[in-house]
Symmetry: C2
Amino acid sequence: MPNSPPPDDLLILLTDVARLVRTLADRRARAHGMTRAQWMILARLRRHDGLTQRELAELLEVEPITVGRLVDRLAARGMIERRADPADRRCWRLHLRPEAALALAEIDAARRAFDAAATRGLPEAQRAAAMAALLAMKTNLLAGAESDAAGAAA
Amino acid sequence: MPNSPPPDDLLILLTDVARLVRTLADRRARAHGMTRAQWMILARLRRHDGLTQRELAELLEVEPITVGRLVDRLAARGMIERRADPADRRCWRLHLRPEAALALAEIDAARRAFDAAATRGLPEAQRAAAMAALLAMKTNLLAGAESDAAGAAA
DNA sequence: GGCTGAAGATAAGCCACGTTATCATAACCG
DNA sequence: CGGTTATGATAACGTGGCTTATCTTCAGCC
């Protein structure tokens, strides 16, 4: 087994672990005939029922077109309903339907299972340190992204 | 700006930061007419010239078909050369060509820039703790993935 | 009121990634 | 030696992400 070279690089290790989580979640979702992206839609809608597609896209930090296609499939399966907005004929309002309940329960179970599996044996101090470091990195990178965008716009 | 809900969840924070890194790297690669996936191929080949596509796929932890398609494009741009293996007519041996040199330099610059940006102001102790935690999580998740696979096979 | 611009949704087209199926070739083994 | 299995590469097809363009509808403003 030609293992990865020594991951002395924090960013590489970070993206590695994240991909592992994505892959495992994908696999679990597919075992239930769904995809991770579809799970994300359902989980968000549970917290914010009645969103428009654009609002949902912003929450998920993807583009509206991506949400639109995912909603196509979920609506076809009866898990989501597109209702016309009474005040704005341009947009849909998204609502969960009872058919989504089973999937939502499975999402919760998966999240608990992954968190438990990933952090097994991890001292609380280390977990806290990791979260602090990740939070700092996120802030740094977001600041960098904005200044990049500003530079490009100028 | 409808920001994410409090990311008290380590896994969510982790995937968020990783996505941020991926997005920024993608943007930078595209600014040079390439993609992040193509960069990964070139960086690996620099360390291991002469790999087969299958070996490269294992190093990158993706499927061989994915590597094959990426190599198609890189070969079309003259950055990679597919040479027939003298002993096994089934497989190609991948070799970098001089045309890849500029891209490799840009990859190095991008990696340095991202690491510096992400960890700016991060105490060394926190960085080390984050790496230790991530490494433990990777090990845990890999073990879980294997036992899952074994269970599915049985 | 009517024009102009902004905003929500979607289409088209590209890239990346996966699963499954094929094909050619190697490798093994009776 | 010949048949079976394993392996490297690829094709076909689906999902999901992006950018750019289009269409409809809304909102503002003269």
